[in-house]
């Protein structure tokens, strides 16, 4: 018996790749519009799994641009953003969903990228700190982190900024308590919390104009 990996890489073997997966779905979708007996048959066809340790095509929408990457099912979004797409603003910290350094937005909502499988992020709008830049110009929120000295070493800062960005999109005028609560999933080992809260409050003011 051949290994899963060999099967996957042999053109004659069963196509377990993401692309094959999507193709078969696509065929099903077409059949639905055509209708008839084939429709029922297609609807009953079960999806095939992506093989372990095999690279499959994953389509990601990152900072408004489509990216097509080859990834294993076990790869986290954090890993793919950094190692495949070079978006190193997304920081690995604890890699166990505790520190917040890898915070990104999925459909405007803060998530830990280390706790999201890249395959699970398909179809979501992914935003990293790089996406907040306008060319080389910092966003108002980033600028307030600089102005209010909302950091010391800076390692947690991209995650802090993305958590704050998620807050301000949902709630443009947060109270001090709402800011503290929204930022409570991001640790700062330098203890710059007071300045971070000031930066978020100042950014809210600037954004309201």
């Amino acid at each position: 018996m051949t290994s899963r990996k060999t099967e996957h890489e042999t053109p004659a073997g069963p196509d377990l790749s993401r692309r094959g997966f999507i193709k078969s779905w696509g065929a099903g979708a077409v059949a639905v519009t055509v209708g008839g007996g084939y429709q029922a048959q297609a609807a009953e066809a079960e999806e095939q799994p992506l093989a372990a340790e095999a690279l499959s095509r994953v389509e990601l929408d990152v900072n408004g641009r489509p990216h097509s990457v080859l990834a294993e099912p076990r790869w986290s979004l954090l890993h793919v953003l950094r190692e495949e797409l070079g978006l190193t603003g997304c920081k690995p910290g604890c890699e166990r969903g505790e520190c917040g350094a890898c915070t990104v937005l999925l459909d405007d909502v803060p998530h830990y990228a280390c706790q999201v499988l890249a395959v699970e992020a398909e179809g979501r709008r992914i935003e990293t700190v790089e996406g907040l830049l306008d060319g080389e110009t910092l966003s108002a929120l980033q600028a307030q982190f600089v102005k209010e000295d909302g950091l010391q070493c800076g390692y947690c800062t991209p995650g802090q900024v993305m958590a704050a960005e998620g807050l301000l999109r949902r709630n443009p005028d947060p109270s001090p308590d709402e800011i503290r609560s929204a930022m409570s999933g991001n640790l700062c080992r330098c203890g710059a919390y007071a300045h971070i809260f000031n930066a978020v409050a100042a950014a809210a003011k600037v954004r309201k104009g």
Partner: protein
Amino acid sequence: MLPAFAYIRPTRLQDVVARLNQGDAQLHAGGTDLLGCLHDGVFTTDMVISLGALESDLNAIRQTEDGGLELGAMARVARIAEDATIRQRYPALAQAAASVASPQLRNQGTLGGNLCQKPRCWYYRGDFACLRKGGFKCFAVNGENQYHCILGGTDCFIVHPSDIAPALVALDAEIKTASPQGGRRIAASDLHMPPSEDPRRETRLKDGEVIVSIRLPGAMANRYSRYRKVRARQAWDFALAGCALNLDLDGDQVRDCRIALAGAAPVPWRAQAAEQALKGQTLTAATIRNTAQAAMADADPMSQNGYKVALFEGLIAEMLEQAAAT
């Protein structure tokens, strides 16, 4: 890097339950606890079965015929915390959801997943072949046990990590499942497995059985219900002591009540002796004291967690005092 696994995202629930029955398959709802366990090597899996394609089928919040609510198991914890109807009619549940983990994890974690969490015991999560992981003993008994249980421990002395589960127990919620056999309904108070029955399982869900929704009975709507969580820090931590309170009040007389505790026992702990002490009584200082003491009458602390007895007594008493003051 996590250990390797195959991955599938079925579009039909029947394919989820069929595959979940095979090998070491694991279910991925929000994925937060699953990925943490795989990262820490608590268990391994040969296949992750994602509910991602079924999210919109499984995350509805809808009114039921009896005036209650049915909550889809894939509803995110943050949504349970923020939903206006839940906040108004079942405040204990909204408060419990709001106290879960961190904002990012509430945005990702699901209602069903929260009920199926693995324990946070550091021996279980760490490199110890403890009873719950298939070994022969609980290392907390002669080890570091300041966060372990004071009630309901036999052989294994974890505390159940969920805040939401005690709120559901106190609200008489019912769990609806799907399984290869077709699914069933389980009282929230029966969902979790005490170690006296099986120290290696956290729930009574069978292989291939998946939580699809949670029903909150109309009879429990608009009661005085609250959840309060005491932690070592004010944010992003598990409960040292948590209490879900549900009172059917007539003035300051308690017609009926439910009290369920977090951080006390290996399962969400219904404090039945305390409920008996409170039922039919008026909320006087003496009743409140008796109720708090009754909740802890069977407490059997370990070498380092005796503080929890006083902490729970104080927590329950304060919550009842607040109820009396409303």
